[in-house]
């Protein structure tokens, strides 16, 4: 599951990375966002959406995506 900050919510972690990259000489970088990846084995994948909504993501501030 890929979990990322919702669009429009300030993401200071992304901003910090965005500021750090040019300091290392990387140019033309914008719109950096930092989320997280949850990996798991599951017997019944139909539970994944509910897992995201109820625990793995906070739907008030985060979007999630199930990657098969």
């Amino acid at each position: 599951m890929l979990i990322r900050p919702k669009a429009g919510i300030l993401d200071p972690q992304g901003k910090a990375v965005e500021r750090a990259l040019p300091a290392l000489g990387f140019t033309g970088v914008s719109n950096v966002h930092v989320g997280r990846l949850v990996e798991l084995d599951v017997e019944d994948p139909s539970q994944l959406d509910r897992m995201c909504r109820e625990l793995l993501a906070n739907p008030l501030v985060e979007d999630y995506e199930v990657l098969a």
Binding site: I9, L10, P12, Q13, A16, L55, L56, N58, L60, V61
Partner: protein, 214 residues
Amino acid sequence: MRVGVITFPGTCDDVDARLAVGKVAEPVALWHGDADLQGVDAVVVPGGFSYGDYLRAGAIARFAPAMASVIEAAREGLPVLGICNGFQILCEAGLLPGALLPNTSLRFACRQVELEVVRDDTAWTRACAVGDRLSIPAKHTTGRFTGEVPEEQVVLRYVHDPVPNGSQDAIAGVCNEARNVVGLMPHPEHAVDLLTGGSEDGLRIFESVALARV
């Protein structure tokens, strides 16, 4: 009056919370793994790093057996106060609106903050008056309040510009619709004794719940 204080693995402000409660009521130690609230008249969910703050602050603590009882009792009107990590837990549990995100600075910030009382008709601010200023410490990394919250559920605001943690609309504390559940990031339990707290303003929060019972 008996006020329970829940301890989770990783909680660190439970002892101060019990001391603060002890100045106005009888403190009762509650354990996260025990669903029995021992008939307390109110509950404090204190600060710290419950379950290591793994995943998101408060995300795992809200599934503790004690929290299941707190959620049920809160919906029936039990006064519940969440301080710092406790505030994060109550938001994750859906008892309070919004969410707490990392401070804009991404740094841990520890300082005395000035708060303005916006509502004096909640179970935890009854001993205050609207417009009162409270000087109490704040210490957190994940305190930026974000979310859709009606103005009538804003209880406390930071009197600082810029707002120390970047909270939306300078919100420091909110309540539920019924106003029995309140959460705030700063720590009233650390400001109940002039010798160590810099002020005694935090006592007003605990006096409020004692008043509510009379």
